[in-house]
């Protein structure tokens, strides 16, 4: 049996799904996360039923891609669990009536039931059940309340004879039902609602946004540094380093294989930052230095998402983003990109038009530094003083804006207008935050790390075979002429495509001036993001789109590197 979980966006459908099936899913407060649907299984009277989390939809007359998918999926289902937001009965019932018109049995879950009390909403459930002619069960998916009863009543699902000829008739039907079963008593605004209204006004909304950003970054750094200092660094230094020293001895402390696996020994010891071996620096950078920051970054982002704050940021930034060829919602993939560009580019799927997806993905891969890059830029340039780090970040931001302005002018097509529900603030359910963090970390380990490791493997062999010396000679005029960097930096920049860690390490031993370090970091950040994001870029934009993005990337980094060389 195939059970479809259907409902409007923002009704807690994904949490509902994870309660029902116990499977790990991503749920968010913003519409569109489930365009890629999720499947799970539910034990139903000795039989295993397939449960499908259908993308959130307001109507069965498809008005967006997600809704098209939803309508198509309806054809293969055997039964629908219609998840309804009990605090917004009227709008939700429109979809319910459309579902009843179809020839498929339906059960209705009145979700977010706990909120109706605070909001002064009273719904006569028995009456609603009679009017609709299908089982109606109040539920609170976040706590699991009512889920058992819902499952036990799936067998009573029915498909009563209902038919409305037009949309207006259907809306009138909804109106009659709501009048019959719901009474609303007046109540005062809660402080959360006041805060909600304040944070979506230009003033003080922008101030609040700035404050939220600042606090978020402080928390991310605090957690990230804590994880590194207390967990990851001790693990590598106390457990992994002795193993590597053993291996080094076993391999005879030198030779081709030793150079590839362990790398150079610094003062007779393994140095995770400078040895450059696949098993030393190659493992340390993704797991020891980057993973902790990815963890803390996505933890904080998950909180922001599930609290309902991000849609407000999207509204605040919509005007600016439109000038750059995107709409406000594009800020979500962009923010994700600050953790790792791979999930950022993948998240552009929530955007409707191809044009917008191209612009957002290109801008992410050029102007948004991932956690790995940021850690290395800070390591490389931070020693010269924080003002230089600020120059790197500032330059990347300006590049992001100017490139957006240009792409908005030259890329054909249009970016649709904003039309989005602003969910009320809710305390993020810990369970969902944890599940989502887990899913994202797994995604990073599965999608990004293997490709990065492969890149490390290839580059280390090429380096051992002196291939980069040839490339250096070939590209040296550009590097020294345009960027004002010494010829030795060429190899570093070339290696940067496959191994950012090694590139930064190579730059750090060249005795560059602070300005040269800034130029080197900016060019490295813009030019060839990393092999993993390259692969997803090709997958998401197609081969042609990837080539176009690459062309823009090369031109932009040449121009920006040269300009910085002139200005600084």
């Amino acid at each position: 049996m195939k059970i479809l979980l259907m409902g409007n966006p923002n009704v807690g459908k994904s949490v509902f799904f994870s309660r029902l099936t116990g499977i790990r899913v991503i749920a968010s407060n913003y519409p569109g996360t489930t365009v890629k649907f999720t499947k799970g299984y539910l034990k139903l009277g000795g039989e295993l039923a397939e449960v499908i989390d259908v993308p959130g939809t307001y109507t069965l007359e498809p008005t967006s891609k997600a809704e098209e998918v939803a309508t198509k999926m309806l054809k293969d289902g055997d039964l629908v669990i219609n998840v309804v937001d009990a605090t917004n009965l009227e709008r939700n019932l429109f979809l319910t009536l459309q579902l009843l018109e179809r020839d498929i049995p339906v059960v209705v879950a009145l979700n977010i039931w706990d909120d109706t009390k605070h909001r002064g909403i009273h719904i006569d459930v028995n009456n609603l059940e009679q009017v609709l002619g299908v089982p109606v069960v109040p539920t609170v998916a976040v706590t699991g309340e009512g889920m058992k009863e819902l499952v036990s009543r799936i067998s009573e699902a029915a498909s009563p004879p209902v038919s409305y000829r037009t949309r207006d008739e259907r809306w009138a039907g909804v109106g009659r039902i709501v009048q019959q079963v719901q009474t609303v008593t007046h109540r005062h605004h809660t402080w959360l609602e006041r805060l909600g209204d304040a944070s979506i006004k230009p003033f003080p909304g922008i101030l609040i946004a700035a404050l939220v950003m600042l606090v978020s970054f402080m928390v991310i750094r605090f957690i990230g540094e804590g994880l590194i200092g207390y967990i990851f660094e001790p693990l590598f230094n106390n457990l992994w380093a002795p193993v590597m020293m053993r291996l080094s001895e076993f391999l005879g402390s030198g030779g081709f294989l030793h150079n590839i696996l362990v790398g150079k020994l610094i003062n007779g010891e393994v140095d995770f930052f400078q040895s450059f071996g696949i098993l030393t620096t190659g493992l340390y950078i993704p797991f020891g230095a980057v993973l902790p920051y990815i963890l803390s970054f996505y933890l904080v982002l998950g909180f922001l998402e599930d609290s309902g704050y991000l849609p407000r940021v999207a509204v605040l930034l919509d005007t600016l983003m439109h000038r750059l060829g995107m709409h406000g919602y594009a800020i979500i993939p962009t923010l994700l990109g600050l953790g790792c560009n791979v999930p950022g580019i993948l998240a552009t799927r929530i955007l409707e038009s191809r044009r917008e997806r191209f612009i957002v993905a290109t801008l992410i891969s050029i102007g948004v530094p991932c956690a790995a890059l940021q850690a290395m830029v800070i390591g490389l340039v931070g020693g010269e003083g924080w003002q230089y780090v600020a120059i790197v970040y500032g330059t990347l931001f300006v590049v992001w804006v100017i490139l957006g302005l240009i792409l908005n002018l030259i890329v054909k097509g249009f970016s649709p207008e904003l039309l989005v529900e602003i969910p009320p603030y809710r305390l993020p359910p810990m369970r969902m935050v944890a599940l989502k963090l887990w899913a994202r970390i797994l995604g990073f380990l599965r999608e990004a790390v293997p490709v990065v490791m492969l890149g490390i493997f290839v580059v280390t062999i090429l380096y051992a075979l002196n291939v980069f010396d040839y490339i250096s000679n070939f590209a040296a005029p550009v590097v020294s002429g345009f960027f004002g960097l010494p010829q030795e930096a060429t190899a570093a920049l070339a290696i940067g495509f496959l191994r950012k860690d090694m590139a930064i390490g190579m730059l750090s031993v060249l005795n560059l001036t602070a300005n040269q370090l800034v130029i080197g970091s900016v060019v490295l950040a813009m030019f060839f993001p990393c092999i993993a994001s390259f692969v997803v870029l090709a997958r998401e934009l197609g081969f042609k789109g990837m080539l176009a993005a690459t062309g823009i990337m090369i031109v932009a980094s040449l121009v920006v590197g040269s300009l910085l060389n002139l200005i600084l």
């Binding site: 307001y58 109507t59 007359e61 008005t63 967006s64 605090t87 917004n88 009227e90 709008r91 429109f94 909001r119 949309r167 809306w171 909600g196 209204d197 979506i200 006004k201 230009p202 909304g205 849609p311 999207a314 509204v315 605040l316 919509d318 005007t319 709409h327 406000g328 207008e417 904003l418 039309l419 989005v420 529900e421 602003i422 009320p424």
Partner: protein, 82 residues
């Protein structure tokens, strides 16, 4: 309660209330907007608007919806008199 002056959601002031009279524009747009509960006859309140023709947030049936300025210009309302 009486309703009087007509205007568009785009031109309403923050905090003003009104009732939707008509949504002008293509069938597709009307359908998308109506599906989110924004329909003729509904009472709405304007929660906020961004500078420089940015999006407008309105409240309908206790739900807030942000809509682009272009869409807001096509929603005709009758203002509620104070």
């Amino acid at each position: 309660m009486t309703f009087n002056r007509q205007t568009t959601v785009a031109q309403m002031r923050t905090g003003e209330r009104g009732r939707i009279i008509e949504i002008t524009g293509g069938h597709g747009l009307t359908r998308r907007v109506e599906a989110m509960g924004i329909r003729p006859g509904k009472k709405i309140a304007k929660v906020s608007s961004m500078l420089m023709r940015g999006p407008v947030t309105i409240q309908v049936d206790g739900v807030q919806v942000a809509i682009g300025f272009g869409i807001a210009r096509r929603i005709l309302v009758e203002l509620e008199s104070k």
